[in-house]
Symmetry: C2
Subunit: 335 residues, 2 copies
Amino acid sequence: MVTISDVARAAGVSSATVSRVVNGKGKVGDACRARVQKIIQELGYKPNSSSQAFLHRQTMNVGLITPKISMEFFGNLAAGAEVAARANGYSLLICNSLYEEESEMAAIESLHGKGCESILMHSDYLTDKQLIELSERYKGLVFINRYIPKIANRCVWFDNVASSAQIVDLLASQGHKHIAVATSIYQNRDPQQRLLGVRQGFMMQGLNFNEKLLAESTANLEGGKACARELLQSGESFSAVIAYNDLMAVGVVHELVKNGYQVPQQVSVVGFDDSALCKACIPTLSTIKYPIEEMANYAAKLAIDLAKDTATPENKTHLFTPALIERDSVAPAPV
Amino acid sequence: MVTISDVARAAGVSSATVSRVVNGKGKVGDACRARVQKIIQELGYKPNSSSQAFLHRQTMNVGLITPKISMEFFGNLAAGAEVAARANGYSLLICNSLYEEESEMAAIESLHGKGCESILMHSDYLTDKQLIELSERYKGLVFINRYIPKIANRCVWFDNVASSAQIVDLLASQGHKHIAVATSIYQNRDPQQRLLGVRQGFMMQGLNFNEKLLAESTANLEGGKACARELLQSGESFSAVIAYNDLMAVGVVHELVKNGYQVPQQVSVVGFDDSALCKACIPTLSTIKYPIEEMANYAAKLAIDLAKDTATPENKTHLFTPALIERDSVAPAPV
DNA sequence: CTGTTAGCGCATTCAA
DNA sequence: TTGAATGCGCTAACAG
């Protein structure tokens, strides 16, 4: 490894001068600078980043904590964060929390111990209180897909409520009155809010929400199928289904088709997320675009900025709004 | 930040002793050890990892270079690598190369500059020669989904040829004789090998490969559709399609269905990868399981081991073999 | 404009 | 068994 002293010796100057040339700080004579730069080229000198990290107490790494990077949603999140990190001279250090409170906490400790001054976190299990406490300890900590009023300026989140309401609007505009819902059995934040949005949408449209048309199951393909079965067995009639996410929506479609229903001619189905699946199923799925990649990009930059000493606590939050993607799974209500 | 000297002072010992206690090396008196440990607890001392990285010249980070972490395949890759890294006390530093030769090279430089002693790479654009040269410079460098005989012990790869041959066997066993292929228009490694495997499979089965039933397009949903159109227009009859990957397979299904064909009753379709899509389409897709997560886990461990000074160059390579997943997209050939 | 010096936190000498 | 001293590579403060 070639060090700053090697360069200094070869150039016949002091290491401080080399440092000045490398960092472009301080005054250096033109001739001297040229000579040093030449030597740097020849020797292929690169500053040792570990040394710099040690000295400056910052590793130039952004930590990312998500449940499971192999899930499409979190993959997109990571991709957005990576781009923002790199654009700012940082790298991305990832940590899977695997959906456990304990490991979410451990991940923060680990990342902070590794010298990550900025951390971007998708927390599913820590409470608002815990996150507020953590924010006091770690200034570069940002939460994505979460909103906590007390620390609003660290929250980059998405308007689940408005999104769902928008879905109801779409269906209502197509004449649907009997609308079923397939939600997640784990009624934590996202499912709750989306369901709330649906109820709000109904109210705004002057529709009555039929509680018998509310089915719950796991938030995956099988869960979607289960919900559809439950809805069909309820005996209530419906012309549309709003699913918690795309995967459930596809499950609903599968089960409906299996039972001889035509989608969307007889039943319309709407998903949530705009995952890759939407374009790959038949019919293609109308859904809400969750701009997670864009949000993560924004959030990573925010985490970097907040970690800086110069950061001034802003009194604003970071809310992203929905876009409806219309494809082929929604048709006018049959008469 | 509490340092080793803080602990030393509080415990009334030297920092060397604290270091010995922390690392469990060297002799320390029992009473002394107990006292130091107590202070460490009280003060919440944690060794500064940046300092250690600087001192030991290793950051305990594994670098990962893939084209795009948001793609399912690479997401699974990252997940496997992260688990292996963490299990060995390392973290995972990710770098998107975005499918460019230049950025693949830049990513290695960047990661190495960041002090990553181990790097796991999915290279699409660098040549064998380039990778061989790189291996000489970086001992902890491992390639995934690539096989280069000269550096076989750094290659963790998958038997594409055998996989495709296995698909042919499956179809032949169901009586299919007129089998079409939808391959990628970019005929680099994977597509070439998979196509080769198909040809081999045909030979082994004593079947004749009809070149008119070979369609090429982009390796995505649209490409699959395009291939199906091409095949239908060729005028040749076929009862099965082998697609380059799952996405193309689903595209083929879409186009066939659109043109009034029944899958699998009239035409069977097989994919490759076993992506999440397979279970979410109708009919569910028979495919080859590409165990990328398992492979990445293995490869990350390998990269960590190779980076160690004690690593002895083994004379073996790391080949993973296929498993056929049978679902609903394959049926006996119509008579 | 340039050189000298000191020190970041730690682990490893070498002495005692 | 313990302590003192040293240096990793770099930058910032201070001198000149």
